[in-house]
Symmetry: C2
Subunit: 319 residues, 2 copies
């Protein structure tokens, strides 16, 4: 029989957030520790153990945990982190095994974008959907692909690296991955800031609130703030970003024939400023089979809780 609670652990480069969640996505209690403080994974696990046992005691759930779900960058399908730029530990880290041994509770680890997709399917905008693609617009662009009700894993557990789909072959922007024209160079928060700097330089004739900000420090938040005040240049930046994303989604549809796309992450908070051009470009570029048939939704996971909820959703799936 399934026990009534799951633990979610979201491991980020700076903080690790963890909590105890029920089957409807209510968080009974949560807390966090610094990830970066622990250059040794054992010390990290000790701290995590102390924090989580305290939380289980406080919430009286010690014997009622079904499983532990972990979202972490770079995890493969066996829950091993081979490589993760932002984590301080000696790789590879057999994280699923270590956590499950430490707590005596089965644990499953997946990458953070995949966790978000499972969280959305369990508690969010795509409850009951069996085929959808979640796009996370953060510092980078991540994605989690659900087909036939299950996360698409791929041969190495690395499926869904859609941020590195090339959308401007040959002529595009240099990406951190060493290639040219990746989606994430345009549609991440950093991509939006990059577009802002580019537009400010290439459109000298346009006045803009963004010209009051030091050009090197412009953020996607600045662009959003200017856009909601009606700043034309800022609006054009959203139009540009949304158009590229909508074109990319039209291509992604040819792959897995999704019922919906769900947009998630910091940039998704821009709402219709972003989604309107995304939807227009999607409809314009998608093959006629899918015109008017694919939903483009905003995530319904509360932002502060989304990573934790996503991780906990993975905890329901452990054997």
């Amino acid at each position: 029989m399934r026990k009534p609670y799951a633990i979610g652990i979201d491991i980020g480069g700076t903080n690790t957030v963890f909590g105890i969640v029920d089957a409807r996505g209510n968080i009974l209690g949560s807390s966090s520790i610094k990830t970066l403080k622990h250059s040794d994974v054992e010390a990290f696990l000790d701290d995590l153990y102390t924090g989580l046992t305290g939380l289980m005691e406080r919430t009286g759930t010690m014997n009622d945990i079904h499983g532990i779900g972990v979202g972490a960058p770079g995890a493969d399908r066996d829950g091993v982190i081979e490589y993760a730029e932002n984590l301080p530990w000696k790789m590879p880290v057999k994280l699923a095994q270590l956590i499950s041994e430490k707590f005596g509770i089965p644990a499953q680890v997946t990458n953070d974008a995949n966790a978000a997709a499972i969280g959305e399917m369990m508690y969010g905008a795509t409850r009951g959907f069996k085929d959808f693609i979640m796009i996370t617009l953060g510092t980078g662009v991540g994605s989690g692909i659900v087909t036939d009700g299950k996360l698409l894993q791929g041969h190495n557990g690395l499926a869904g690296e859609l941020g590195h789909a090339i959308v401007r072959p040959g002529t595009g922007r240099m990406c951190g991955c060493g290639r040219i024209g990746c989606l994430e160079t345009y549609c991440s928060a950093t991509g939006v800031a990059r577009t802002a700097r580019e537009f400010l330089e290439t459109k000298p004739e346009m006045d803009s609130l963004l010209r009051n900000i030091d050009i090197e420090n412009i953020s996607s938040k600045d662009v959003y703030d200017a856009a909601i005040k009606g700043d034309q240049l800022a609006l054009e930046i959203f139009e540009y970003t949304g158009t590229i994303l909508g074109e990319a989604l039209a291509n992604f549809a040819t792959f897995s024939d999704p019922e919906a796309f769900v947009i998630f992450g910091g940039l998704a908070k821009s709402g219709d400023l972003l989604l309107n051009p995304v939807r227009r470009a999607f409809e314009k570029n998608v093959i006629s089979l899918w015109k008017g048939k694919v939903k483009i939704l905003m995530s319904e996971l509360k932002d502060a809780d989304a990573a934790l909820l996503g991780a906990s959703a993975v905890g329901w799936n452990v054997r």
Copy 2:
């Protein structure tokens, strides 16, 4: 218990080929009827029934058929053909239901590219593979995507329309689907002929055997024939085609993290002329996670039998 034989039916615009196949892919007997002759699907089914019962009698397999697999253009996941340009019947056609009722044997229908992928997994180059993508280079470009050992279907059973992934956004060739820059405008047999006409016009300085052929009637076969004779222009056409396909495959890898791509169809017969530039472009363009790790294989299904074998493989999967 599984019975020892499956029926495969491949419905093409011109001919419908059918046969009886064992679990190792040996064809016990096969035959064909004209598809186009029957503007009425009932008459088509009557003819098919006569042909197949004759075949079952001749091979003594009447009571030993596990299931009927059908490959047909435009089939959705319920085995209904909503729309197929090349088929003469009044749509929609509930083909799976009609065939299964007619023969009293469970039938499953899938589109021809998907059938080829299942055939390859059962009898061909990807026996034992659980994650691969089959690309069919024919008049158009089709694809079948296998993830975790199963065909990726999608919400409407239309997953794997990779021929209509846009590879040259904005600047590309006009596609039959009404959009610009689709993969199939470059990497199908007709795409190769189009490249030949383009190169003959834009490279007037290059001598070529292809200049002896009426430019409007050049086929991909002509380009192949010239290329194996060392014709420089023809070789450049293969280089161009293979490079675009390799770039596209690099993008497709970000989606489903495949162990292999299998190339199939008329153009695949060009062998290394095509595959060498495909492999080069793939390695150059794929994200480092996958460099050197993804196989690019030729189909091992005998060409004349491939469609039939693919369809029959679907017949093993019926409940």
